[in-house]
């Protein structure tokens, strides 16, 4: 049972948008979670760029072990006491650890490659001791799903079939592989969620713009602040089209025009009705609060919001190029490996 548990957990770890995010350093005293979506007071305390915008520039890391969704085992508690938080963090670190050797081979094969290949910050819960990154709804969980239309149900079934073939090691074509495996997008498509490594984002600013460059996969998201309209309806982009403005110290970003080739976007949502709003607020010299709200009446019964703290890591640490497609041997390994196994099956 425990082996299966760990195996299932380990599988879930490989889902970048899932709860089991990597760790973050808790470098300040625990505090209550920030209340959702109130515009900041007019009086600004954040450092400013020379042209007067709040300064978010630098290299930031968002790794944490705090899960996206609140585990039901902790009841309705949204924030833990210091002692509970220490237990929570220890338990998560133990379950996420890639250095464990228990649980049998099935668990073991998924734990490659050891902790030191992972972001060390992924084993720390957030400094405010929340039990979930989701702060709304109050239960800390993704709201219930609405029934899918027949078209979307069909698309979801097709995607599930592709995933099953891939997980069995028998993908039929490169199309059976997910967008991250194909090196098209990884953590760079909003909302940004912690993952097992390379949880780094570099923020650049210039008069009238904020530009966010995630490490994976080497892209840059330009956010104009001049209130220009979004791109026309017929222009779709993998990273969407972003527009931002400041409210006090908070950068508010709205992103539309998402592209999909298989009918779904983030969390199986419907691109035509999906909306995402992100808020970036610098809290102190080394912390930025990243908050996102997503809604899609054709996917969830109500909107949901999460807050993830980001920690500044430069100049000591830097972000590095993450080329992906250029050396993506994996795709060929998966496909040729599948063909080899099929051939040996049929030759029996």
């Amino acid at each position: 049972m425990k082996g299966t548990l760990v195996a299932v957990l380990a599988m879930a770890l490989w889902l970048p948008a899932s709860a089991q995010g990597p760790g973050k350093a808790a470098s300040q005293a625990p505090r209550k979670p920030a209340p959702p979506t109130k515009p900041a007071a007019n009086k600004s305390s954040a450092p400013r760029t020379p042209w007067g915008d709040p300064d978010l520039q630098g290299v930031w890391n968002d790794a944490t072990s705090t899960p996206l969704q609140r585990p039901t085992g902790v009841g309705a508690k949204d924030v833990l006491t210091d002692e509970e938080a220490a237990d929570f963090q220890a338990q998560l670190a133990n379950d996420l650890s890639r250095d464990r050797r228990d649980g049998g081979a099935d668990a073991d094969v998924n734990r490659a490659y050891n902790e030191h290949w992972m972001d060390a910050r992924r084993l720390k819960i957030t400094g405010d001791h929340r039990t979930s990154l989701i702060v709304d709804p109050q239960d800390g969980r993704i709201p219930p799903l609405v029934p899918l239309s027949p078209e979307r149900e069909k698309a979801r079934t097709a995607r599930a079939g592709a995933n099953a073939r891939f997980n069995a090691g028998l993908p039929e074509t490169y199309r059976d592989m997910s967008l991250p495996v194909q090196c098209i997008i990884r953590t760079d498509s909003p909302p940004y969620l912690p993952t097992i490594y390379n949880n780094d984002f570099q923020i650049f600013q210039s008069p009238g713009y904020v530009v966010i460059a995630p490490e994976m996969i080497h892209s840059a998201r330009t956010i104009p602040l001049d209130r220009r309209p979004h791109l026309g309806r017929n222009l779709h982009q993998w990273l969407g089209d972003s527009r931002g403005h400041w409210e006090g110290d908070t950068l508010i970003v709205e992103t539309t025009n998402f592209r999909t080739d298989d009918g779904v976007i983030f969390q199986n949502a419907n691109p035509g009705t999906f909306k995402i709003t992100e808020r970036f607020t610098r809290v102190d010299a080394t912390t930025l609060n990243y908050e996102f709200t997503v809604e899609d009446p054709q996917t969830w019964t109500k909107p949901w919001t999460a807050i993830i703290p980001w920690t500044k890591i430069d100049p000591k640490e830097q972000m590095y190029e993450y080329a992906c497609h250029e050396d993506n041997y994996d795709i060929v390994h998966f496909l040729t490996g599948a063909r080899k196994r099929e051939a040996s099956e049929t030759s029996r």
């Binding site: 074509t173 490169y174 650049f204 210039s206 309209p229 993998w238 190029e321 060929v332």
Partner: protein
Amino acid sequence: MLSALLAMAVPIAAQFPAYRPVRMADGHPNLNGVWQALVTADFDLQDHEAKPGPHPEVMGAYGGEHAGQSVVEGGEIPYQPWALEKKKQNFAKRTTVDVSSDKKWHELGDPEFKCYMPGVPRATYMPFPFSIVQGSSPYILFSYEFASATRIVRMDWKGEAPTPSWMGWSRGRWEGDTLVIDVSGFREETWLDRAGDFHSDELHVVERYTPVSPYHLMYEATIEDPKIYTRPWKISFPLYRRVEKNVQLLEFKCVPFTEDLLYERFSKQGGSK
């Protein structure tokens, strides 16, 4: 200080009157914006006639490559004789790919053809816009529409590249009103154009971006690689500011355009698609 005065007083390109650029708070020129080269150097850095592209029997005029004059000072790239032969082999196989063997993964095909990041200086003269994001941090971002490639210019950074990369490791500094970027630590697999021009892992590029009008940057790059060329050589051409209303970089995520080409041969024949 003297060099700064000289840079301001003497126009880099003779056709521009002396220009004092708008400045950032730190006193350096404001290079922010969307820029694009109009030369056809991505087809071929040297003189080239118009020609059909790959598979004209399918592509007709769509695939054609238009003519251009060399952007290389002196006209020709000073290859070592063996390297000139390698260039010709590159060109002959520029649209051939074979990723069946990890060891030979990069042996064939123009990296641009495969949607690999183009490296520097090629990214500058690809027929796509790019943006410069210059703020008040010790970093300047160059964001290229092609393949969503990016590179971070680390201002006043000392030391060697800590790791090889496709876009190289960029160290920036100001010389008067010129942004000088010293780039090394390249992956050897990038090409300089579709003509098969190439380099080794010892490639070293020094770029100079000089504002000469509100709408033009003059671009120069000195390229050296003792394994490949007999001496350093230089390219130069203007960069034009894109001034369309609400202009922005759009996406050219071309990986999906290459997947059939690279991977379809490994698919299960007759499987569900």
